[in-house]
Amino acid sequence: WSLPLKSVFVTFPGDIIKNMTDTELAEGYLKKFGYIDTLHRSGFQSMVSNSKALKRMQRQMGLEETGELDKSTLDAMKRPRCGVPDVAN
């Protein structure tokens, strides 16, 4: 049996840090592309609005509208794309 490699992650100078949790990634994505109204985002309201925003994003991307941050949604958020917001603001 080979032992699993213990990867050490380093901070590369000049790299734009993308090491973030899935939730941080999703929030940033939904905000950047216009799915979240950034002025009304806090606590419980955030969860509700995030679910709505996720559904909206999933509809736009042709994904199953679960309102959950599932794997296919996360994968979609990691794909290369155009920087123009999907929802006009």
Binding site: F12, I16, F33, R59, G62, G83
Partner: protein
Amino acid sequence: YQTFDGDLKWDHRDVTYRILSYTPDMEISLIDEAFARAFKVWSDVAPLTFTRLFDGTADIMISFGRNNHGDPYPFDGKDGLLAHAYPPGEGLQGDAHFDEDEYWTLGTGPAVKTRYGNADGAMCHFPFTFEGKSYSSCTTEGRSDNLPWCATTADYSKDKKFGFCPSELLYTFGGNANGAECVFPFVFLGEEYDSCTTEGRSDGYRWCATTNNFDTDKKYGFCPSRDTAVIGGNSEGEPCHFPFVFLGKKYDSCTSEGRGDGKLWCSTTDSYDDDKKWGFCPDQGYSLFLVAAHEFGHALGLDHSNIRDALMYPMYSYVEDFSLHEDDIEGIQYLYGRKTGPDPTPPQPNTPTTTPYPDPDETDATDGPTTTTTTRPVDPTKDACKLTKFDTITVIEGELHFFKDGYFWKMSNGGDEKVKGPFPVSEKWPALPAVIDSAFENILARKLYFFSGNKTLYWTQFWVYTEQSVLGPRSIEKLGLPNSVQKVEGALQRGKGKVLLFSGENYWRLDEKAQKIDKGYPKYTDLAFGGVPNDAHDVFQYKDHTYFCRDRFYWRMNSRRQVDRVGYVKYDLLKC
């Protein structure tokens, strides 16, 4: 499809664009072509035309930049955001920005166009074999001058076709040195540099001096990226250094160790641990054509679509044989209407009425058919700058002449460089038909040769003017050219009394004095004039350069038969 709020769109159909900056990832001509093709995607289905400007303000200003690049929407390093564009309008609106931290290709890995060598500027063929070894990138193997090269076919040993790859040792782009190569070492602010540097710049572009002292000469250019150069990181444009040491371990190839995102990277010095210099390894890259076509959709007024196969879907995916989705077509036609009829063309004047059969009673049997030309009054508004293609371009009495449908314009060689005309051909050379395919001047003999003919005629004819007296029309068989030649597309004078005549893919050498074609001709144009279009419709000599024109573009060749510029007839020659 979606449009922006208020259906933002251009209020004119002739949309202009200007390329403000280039990425070093690809040869400039490939970038120009990718953008032109991307615009054509839209002009093929909507009544829009796109005109490139080389200065001033265009509707769509195109640029490359990284991170914070001058607008409120910074890019994010390699991958993630690729580009963005603004909907139609004034100022920043309509502009398109591309993330320089991406690796811009044609979508399938390094797109390396060669220079020099013997492959007429062909693209590198990866992988290729050389002396039994396979190469998937340009190499300096087999050379002592450190110039990277590649084969343009799969097997160099068999085909012996090669060209040189982008390198700062061959040329630079942009800057103010007219593409001259870097000179190493060079001095900048008192320091000596042995390679391209980003010092002195905040945008990360690598540059070099093209003399040995920038401080005194101020001559510089940007360094093209080698295909082996890293992307992004803090060493953009530098090659990987193998082996390199990372966390005490030696690596002979790119690795994803140390990263959580699985991206391959390498060190650009022998030790990452010591120097911390790194970048991402080249990959398939993103198709500049596909991304540009998407962004130009925004610049024309289309927002993102939720149809996965539509061009305006927000995510990138590479498709080999691209065609515009019905959703995109409906979107653009909603904004600008349907495209009807052929491409917009300048109004056509009356064409000559031609009697296809010669009258045996009046004509020498070897002479051409009788052609009578219907002239019309000169329209003073007929503007050479609005024409996209000329029947022929030639130099007469030192002035560049542009012929089109019975008229000609001329451009003096002096300082004012302003196009004059139109002048009716029939007033200056009354024997000529409206359409002139080619012309050349024998300065010593003070003779002007004109060629004309097309598919509706049975053969091509020529006329020789000596001041006001004219000989012809005569069949080109008189010159030894076969009567199957439907058009003489261009003429180049070569030494004393020798003229090269071009038609289709061939050219002939005319001995003017003997009025005969030299032995050994025709020859294939592409064998002697590599890198120019095979179907050029104008070929002429001007200011020590040879020009080959196709459509609105020209390819300029220097005396060493190297294409040193591709440009627009309208802007560069007519100075529109």
